[in-house]
């Protein structure tokens, strides 16, 4: 919480993107979260990714539920559309909005409570349906707003601030998303923007359900020894499988990669994802292998991060349902209500 507004002045030499905006133009209001909250770093990463992609702010809809994480859309993209929905209901609101207008970029921002507890079902169905969105879970393993009770993503055996051991099994949202058919699955850490920013950019450019689980330490209630979501723990146990460069446009790949160390994935819109392998055996196009890899490393107490799975030939809900391309709000009355003759025809076809 800060009393003064962030000064409007910015660095005079700040670079501008294709639209002439600096990254400061993608900010929202000043954060009211606790000082040092990991969520603020995720906010900064979303700002950076949107700036780098030269996204027009008014083409974005940011939708959230309830919780510390769900407050954050107020802190980025101040000129975008937003909907702060009911607890756990972000996926349904987002699905509805997406069906009504597929032209916008959908950012679903949620937390571990919002997505792994009250909204677990909603999360599952939006992924299962392949809604074209970027679904970000800001995962701190505790209910920060209610003073730090374990959430459903807290690891079994991790300790609360008061020293109480968590005895429940954890939900691994990444594993679930892979199992439910998400076509872009990644995990990252709020303390590593160089990894997180390209992942968000790639997810935004991905067509289909993109899911990013971001470990985000809760400074107030979950950043102590014994926690498995603290800065120190995640830094010590971070097992990054790859590093990502997002290449937009027709630019050739200029970065000099050692042969065999990079895997280039081209997405629908021409975006190329250059994956610099850290783990030589890891294949980001193999869903089954990813699931196995994840389980094995989780058992060893490691936090696997990076772009874990991407399907370059992904489809989305609109493709499955064969919906009209035009956003509903721009359809004319004659399109929406084609008249008695058309109705007769439909009825006849069903007899």
């Amino acid at each position: 919480m800060t009393y003064i507004a962030k000064p409007k002045f910015h660095h005079p030499g700040l670079p501008k993107n294709e639209l002439g905006y600096t990254h400061r133009d993608y900010e929202g209001k000043i954060s009211t979260l606790c000082a040092g909250c990991g969520h603020d770093s995720i906010t900064a990463s979303i700002i950076e990714a949107c700036y780098e992609l030269s996204i027009e702010p008014h083409r974005v809809a940011k939708i959230s539920g309830i919780g510390c994480s769900s407050k954050t859309p107020d802190y980025f993209l101040g000129n975008s559309h937003g909907f702060n929905s009911v607890h756990g209901r972000m996926p349904s609101v987002l699905t509805g909005a997406n069906l009504a207008n597929r032209d916008l970029i959908y950012l679903g921002v949620s937390g571990d409570g919002d997505s792994a507890s009250i909204g677990f079902g909603q999360f599952a169905h939006s992924i299962r349906r392949g809604v074209n969105m970027t679904y970000i879970v800001e995962n701190n393993g505790v209910y920060g707003l209610t003073k730090g009770q374990f959430s459903a993503t807290a690891d079994r055996g991790s300790k609360s601030k008061k020293g109480v051991m968590n005895t429940d099994n954890a939900i691994d949202l990444v594993a679930i998303a892979l199992q439910l058919g998400a076509s872009f699955v990644a995990r990252s850490f709020s303390g590593d923007k160089s990894q997180l920013v390209p992942l968000i950019a790639a997810a935004i450019r991905h067509k289909g359900a993109s899911f990013i689980d971001v470990i985000s330490p809760c400074i107030a209630f979950n950043n102590h020894a014994g926690s498995t979501k603290s800065f120190d723990y995640v830094r010590e146990h971070n097992d990054a499988v790859n590093r990502l460069d997002v290449l937009t446009g027709r630019d050739p790949i200029t970065v000099d990669y050692a042969p065999g160390t990079v895997q280039v994935v081209e997405q629908h819109d021409g975006t190329r994802l250059a994956l610099r392998k850290i783990d030589a055996d890891y294949d980001a196009n193999d869903r089954l292998a990813a699931m196995t890899f994840l389980q094995k490393h989780a058992a060893k107490g490691q936090v696997v991060t990076g772009l874990l799975y991407v399907d370059p030939d992904s489809e989305d809900l609109h493709t499955h349902l064969d919906t009209v391309e035009t956003p509903l709000n721009t359809l004319e009355a004659t399109d929406l209500c084609p008249g008695t003759a058309a109705l007769e025809k439909i009825n006849a076809s069903l007899r």
């Binding site: 800060t2 003064i4 606790c34 000082a35 990991g38 603020d40 770093s41 330490p217 830094r235």
Partner: protein, 599 residues
């Protein structure tokens, strides 16, 4: 890069750009905050201690602080530091009782030659210590060029009287109307030290055809200004040409406008942009309907039977050679003669020491300037010191004051039998400004206001009387608005690596993208890897190591707003906002301790 040693007194001093640029190192942000609080007398005394003439400088200073002001790198214009100083002088209460009480006389006698800012600054520092200071000046009243050369419409006599009196009232003996015409004689009077602050009293000549023949209507700028000041000259012709592009030329043309000059022109050799005059002085001249014609070199005075009728100019243009040096070459256009009744020559001023015998132990260099040590201001005669324009040629008042402080320290050390080349380090105080979780003892909310204009008197009234001050100064409300523009650069961002958990909160919140956590490297390399461009290499990088990940924290001091948001957003208190105050060492400053309360 090596981690920054923030306990070195200069490190944070440089961050306070204005104070670092000020020759007297006036603690600018400190007094601006006091002005914002309405504590004008306190603000005045801080200035008085450091620059001796706040009311005078608040109207006339050359303001080296303002081009240095960080605000000028953040937006278009710096804080109006100079005119805020005037506010302190204008709105203060009676401060007489706050002036130093001189100690009992120590029996040592100091002679000061010239009653200008340099000598008075020396007297200000030495008189309170018990020295018997005697100031000699050819003019009847103290002030030197401040009184004789600066027009009254810029600097009223009342202001000079008040501030010279503060010094003379310290028990300083002032011998007005007493020109020193022999140093030898003065040396024979057995003073314990002699300080020469006699200025650069000679206006430079312009020796071109017609100069002698038309002499009656050709005047040397500073001499003419002095004659006007003392009431010997009250009129000038209708058409006046001022030759020269410095601040004296600006004073000449504006003075001429008030003495009957209806058609006054300033004509300069160089381009308008390269003129030596301060931009604001040029602005004031233009505002008084005085055109400034550039790229015209005077080649002759036209005269008919001993009467000046005009000046002939050759037209030139600027050409730059391979080294970027500018040459003025004829443009090929025909010469132009501009008719006029009087000419004021303001093409520079020079030192002159006809009264210093060359055999009294003072060595002169090939330019006929005394050899003076740049730090101690001692000449080759260990008892004779120089300062102000007399030491290194024409500068301005604030430099003279700074010289005065340093020379006074040397004199005091010399007479105390100490080594004068040993200059004690200034004392530094650094203290946290934290008052609560998000509360600071300074106003950290950054004002977005543009620079406030100083109200001027209506031109018609101002031009009528040479003694009517043109600038009215800020009123309290304007002063508050302007004071709020100060970025409080003396409230420093102090980083403690052991407390840092590298959460990036400071990086994310910093409005100016000053902070980067990255792998260490050489400075050149590091500057390439910062979060925002780092074009000003004279601005320091604050580097701290000892972080858990092995990276370093790098803060580019360049455009930091000192808003304290890094410290507010820091969950562990690794950042703190600490006020840095530096006590310059003056004559009589008590023994310096090695221990400093550094961060």
């Amino acid at each position: 890069m090596k981690p920054t040693d923030i306990s070195a007194p200069d490190y944070f001093h440089k961050v306070v750009d204005c104070q670092w640029a000020c020759p007297a190192h006036t603690p600018v942000p400190e007094y601006i905050r006091l002005i914002a609080e309405g504590r004008y007398s306190d603000a005045y005394m801080i200035n008085w201690k450091s620059n001796v003439f706040p009311g005078i400088l608040g109207r006339t200073c050359d303001r080296p602080c303002e081009p240095a002001c960080r605000r000028g790198r953040v937006e278009e214009t710096p804080v109006a530091i100079c005119r805020l100083k005037r506010v302190a002088a204008d709105f203060k209460d009676d401060v007489k009782h706050r002036m130093p009480k001189p100690l009992a006389r120590n029996g040592k006698r100091i002679a000061l030659v010239g009653g200008g800012p340099a000598s008075l600054a020396v007297a200000r520092d030495l008189a309170p210590l018990g020295y018997h200071c005697t100031v000699f000046d050819a003019d009847p009243k103290a002030g030197g060029m401040m009184r004789s050369q600066i027009p009254k419409f810029r600097l009223p006599d009342t202001v000079i009287d008040e501030e010279t009196d503060y010094i003379l009232d310290l028990g300083v003996e002032f011998k007005g109307g007493h020109r020193i015409d022999s140093l030898k004689k003065l040396l024979n009077e057995n003073y314990d030290a002699i300080f020469i602050g006699s200025g650069a009293p000679r206006g430079r000549e312009l020796d071109i055809p017609g100069r002698k023949e038309a002499a009656a209507n050709i005047h040397i700028g500073i001499e003419w200004l002095a004659s006007v000041s003392f009431g010997h000259v009250e009129k000038i012709g209708r058409r006046v040409i001022v030759l020269g592009g410095g601040n004296t030329a600006m004073d000449c043309c504006r003075t001429a406008r008030r003495l009957g000059g209806a058609d006054v022109k300033v004509i300069v050799r160089s381009g308008f942009e390269e003129m030596k005059a301060s931009p604001w002085e040029k602005e004031d001249a233009l505002h008084e309907d005085i055109p400034i014609l550039n790229y015209m070199v005077p080649v002759g005075f036209k005269h008919v039977s001993g009467k000046l009728i005009g000046v002939t100019f050759q037209k030139v243009k600027a050409e730059y050679d391979a080294k970027g040096r500018r040459n003025l070459v004829p443009s090929g256009e025909p010469d132009q003669t501009i008719p006029c009744d009087d000419v004021l020559v303001a093409v520079g001023q020079e030192n002159a020491f006809p009264w210093i015998e060359r055999d009294c132990g003072i060595e002169f260099d090939k330019w006929n300037m005394p050899q003076v040590d740049a730090k101690t201001f001692v000449s080759t005669n260990p008892k004779v010191f120089f300062g102000g324009d007399a030491a290194f040629g024409p500068k301005n008042i604030i430099w003279a004051v700074a010289h005065g402080h340093d020379a006074a320290l040397s004199i005091h050390k010399m007479i105390s039998g100490e080594e004068i080349t040993e200059r004690p380090l200034p004392e530094v105080h650094v203290s946290s400004q934290k008052m609560g979780i998000h509360e600071w003892s300074y106003d950290n909310d950054i004002s977005g206001d543009k620079r406030y204009k100083v109200p001027h008197r209506d031109k018609v009234i101002a031009l009528k009387d040479i003694r009517t001050e043109v600038e009215l100064g800020y009123d309290v409300k304007l002063a508050l608005g302007e004071a709020q523009r100060c970025l409080n650069c003396d409230v420093q961002t102090v980083f403690s690596a052991p407390a840092c958990i590298e959460c990036d909160a400071c990086v994310d919140i910093c409005p100016m993208d000053c902070i980067t956590f990255t792998e260490n490297g050489e400075e050149e390399d590091l500057r390439q890897r910062l979060k925002a461009p780092s074009p000003h290499h004279d601005q320091a990088l604050y580097v701290a190591d000892g972080l858990k990940t092995g990276r370093v924290m790098v803060k580019d001091e360049d455009v930091c707003l000192h808003c304290g948001l890094c410290a507010e957003r820091c969950p562990t208190g690794a950042w703190d906002m600490q006020k840095y105050l530096i006590d310059m060492t003056y004559a009589g400053t008590p023994c310096q301790t090695k221990a400093r309360s550094a961060a």
